[in-house]
C-alpha cells in the first residue's frame, strides 16, 4: 500500500505550498534588511572614494584600512567639496552624484540619443584640490571597478580598485596595497597626448621609480586582470579629459 506522501497530487500540492511559504519568508527578510544593506553600500562607496584620494586609516605599510563606517559620512562631507555631474558640455553639482550607477550609465549610453552622465568628485586634501574619477571595466571572470584621484596637472595621487570575482592570490591582488600604491605619482598624460597607465610586464622598473613612463609593474599570473585595469583606465579617464583640461585654461 502506497503512503499518501507518495501520491503525485500530494507531491505537487506540497511543492506549491513550500515555494509560496519560502518565497514570502525570504521576501520579508530581504525587505526588512534592505535599508540597512543600502546604507552599508553607500558607506562603502564613500570609503572607496576617500581611499582613492589618500584619506584612510592605514597604519604604516600594513593592510588597507578604510575610514570606519561611523565616521565616514562626516569625513566624506568634510573632504569632498563638490560632486559634479558632467553631461556633454554641461556641468552640474549634485550632492548624490556618488550614487550614480556607472554600469547603468554605460548601458544607456549605447543609445545615441542618451547623453551619458559622468560623476566627478572634487576633493580637498592638505589644501590641494583633487579630482576623483570613477571607473568600471572587465577583469578575467567578472567586473572590476575603482576610482582614480588626479591633481590639476593630471598626475595620479591615488587609486582604489575592487573586483567582483577575480582569482584569489592572482587577479584579486589588484585590491592590495602594494599594487594600488604603485600608481601614486604616475602620469596619465604623455606630453599633450592621453596615454593612461599601462599595467605592464617586464618594464624593467619593478620598484616603479620611473613615474613618467605611464607604466606600473604587473602582478605575476594576473595578465588578463591587469590588462583589464589598463583598459578600464584608458576607457573611463579619457571621457573626463575635456573637463579636466578646461580647468587649466
Amino acid at each position: 500500500m502506497a503512503k499518501y506522501t507518495d501520491k503525485n497530487s500530494y507531491t505537487i500540492i506540497f511543492s506549491v505550498i513550500m515555494v509560496v511559504v519560502v518565497g514570502s519568508l525570504l521576501a520579508g527578510v530581504a525587505q526588512g534588511l534592505k535599508s540597512k544593506i543600502t546604507l552599508n553600500e553607500r558607506f562603502e562607496k564613500m570609503q572607496n572614494i576617500l581611499y582613492a584620494m589618500g584619506i584612510n586609516d592605514n597604519e604604516g605599510d600594513g593592510d588597507i584600512n578604510f575610514i570606519s563606517t561611523d565616521r565616514v559620512e562626516e569625513v566624506f562631507a568634510k573632504n569632498i567639496k563638490k560632486q559634479l555631474v558632467i553631461q556633454g558640455d554641461e556641468v552640474t553639482e549634485n550632492p548624490e552624484a556618488y550614487l550614480i550607477d556607472i554600469k547603468k550609465e554605460e548601458t544607456m549610453a549605447k543609445d545615441p540619443n542618451y547623453q551619458r552622465r559622468l560623476p566627478l568628485f572634487v576633493g580637498e586634501k592638505d589644501g590641494e584640490t583633487l579630482y576623483i574619477i570613477p571607473m568600471r571595466g572587465k577583469g578575467l571572470w567578472d567586473a572590476i571597478w575603482g576610482f582614480v584621484a588626479v591633481d590639476k596637472s593630471l598626475v595620479v595621487r591615488g587609486v582604489f580598485f575592487d573586483h567582483a570575482g577575480e582569482t584569489p592570490g592572482l587577479g584579486a591582488e589588484i585590491k592590495q596595497r602594494y599594487f594600488m600604491d604603485d600608481f601614486k605619482g604616475e602620469n596619465i598624460m604623455d606630453g599633450d597626448a592621453f596615454k593612461g597607465i599601462t599595467v605592464a610586464k617586464g618594464n624593467n622598473d619593478p620598484v616603479n621609480e620611473n613615474k613618467t613612463d605611464n607604466k606600473v609593474d604587473a602582478i605575476a599570473g594576473a595578465t588578463i586582470t591587469g590588462d583589464g585595469v589598463t583598459a578600464m583606465i584608458k576607457k573611463d579617464v579619457r571621457m573626463y579629459l575635456p573637463y579636466l583640461k578646461s580647468l587649466n585654461q
Binding site: 506522501t5 507518495d6 500530494y10 506540497f14 511543492s15 525570504l26 552599508n40 553600500e41 563606517t69
Partner: protein, 214 residues
C-alpha cells in the same frame, strides 16, 4: 550530565572528536581550505554553519513525515538555501565588511556536504530535539577544525590573530621579527590548509588508535 541524557550528550560530543565530520568523515573539506586564511573568517563560518545546520535539522525533522519522498532532496535543498540566504542578508546588514570577505563562501554553505548529509542521515529519521543536538554537534565539530586551522594559518602566515599583531611588527622589526623571524606566506595559500588538516588527522589518530582503519 543533568541537562541531557547520556544518549543525547553523545550526539553533541561524538562529532567533536571521534566522529568529526572533517577529520573522520572527510566532509566539508572544500570550505575548510578556502576560508581559513584568517581566524575571524573561520569563526564566522563556524557560527553560520552551526546556525544553518541546527535550525535546518529541526525544520527537516519536523517535516519528516509529510515530505514527499520523491522530492525529498529538493525539499532539503530549499530549506538550506533559504537559511543560507537569511544568513547572507543578515551579514550584509550587520557585518558588511565581513560579508564582502566571505562573499561567495556563505553561498557555498548550501553545497557543504555535512549539511545535506545530516539532513539525509539523521533528521529524516529522528525527532526535532535529537536532530537539533545532532546538527549543533556536527556543525561544532566542523567549526572546531576550522578554528584550529584558521588559528595556525593566520598566526604563521600573517603573524596576527584576529588582526592583532601578536608576534610583533614585521615592518618596524619588533618582537619575534627583531631576531630574524619571517612570516610564512605559504600558509596563506589553500594547500597549506590541507596539510594542517592532515596534521590534525595524524595527531588525532595517533592518540586514538581505534580510529585507524585496517
Amino acid at each position: 550530565m543533568g541537562l541531557l541524557s547520556k544518549k543525547d550528550s553523545k550526539l553533541i560530543l561524538d562529532p567533536l572528536a571521534d566522529n568529526n565530520p572533517i577529520t573522520i568523515q572527510v566532509l566539508g573539506i572544500c570550505s575548510a581550505l578556502a576560508i581559513t586564511a584568517q581566524l575571524k573568517a573561520s569563526i564566522v563560518m563556524a557560527i553560520s554553519v552551526i546556525f544553518v545546520l541546527g535550525i535546518g535539522n529541526v525544520v527537516i525533522s519536523l517535516m519528516r513525515n509529510i515530505i514527499p519522498s520523491k522530492i525529498r532532496i529538493i525539499v532539503q535543498l530549499v530549506v538550506v538555501a533559504a537559511l543560507v540566504i537569511i544568513v547572507d542578508q543578515v551579514l550584509k546588514a550587520f557585518a558588511y565588511e565581513l560579508s564582502k570577505e566571505l562573499s561567495v563562501f556563505i553561498g557555498l554553505i548550501i553545497t557543504n556536504c555535512i549539511i545535506m548529509g545530516r539532513f539525509e542521515a539523521f533528521a529524516l529519521g529522528n525527532g526535532p530535539w535529537r536532530s537539533f543536538l545532532d546538527g549543533i554537534g556536527n556543525a561544532a565539530g566542523y567549526g572546531i577544525i576550522l578554528i584550529i586551522v584558521g588559528f595556525f594559518r593566520e598566526l604563521l602566515g600573517s603573524g596576527t590573530l584576529l588582526g592583532f599583531k601578536v608576534l610583533g611588527d614585521p615592518i618596524s622589526k619588533t618582537g619575534l621579527y627583531a631576531i630574524g623571524y619571517e612570516n610564512n606566506g605559504f600558509m596563506l595559500l589553500s594547500p597549506m590548509a590541507l596539510i594542517v588538516i592532515g596534521i590534525i588527522i595524524w595527531v588525532q589518530r595517533s592518540r586514538n588508535k581505534a580510529l585507524i582503519e585496517e
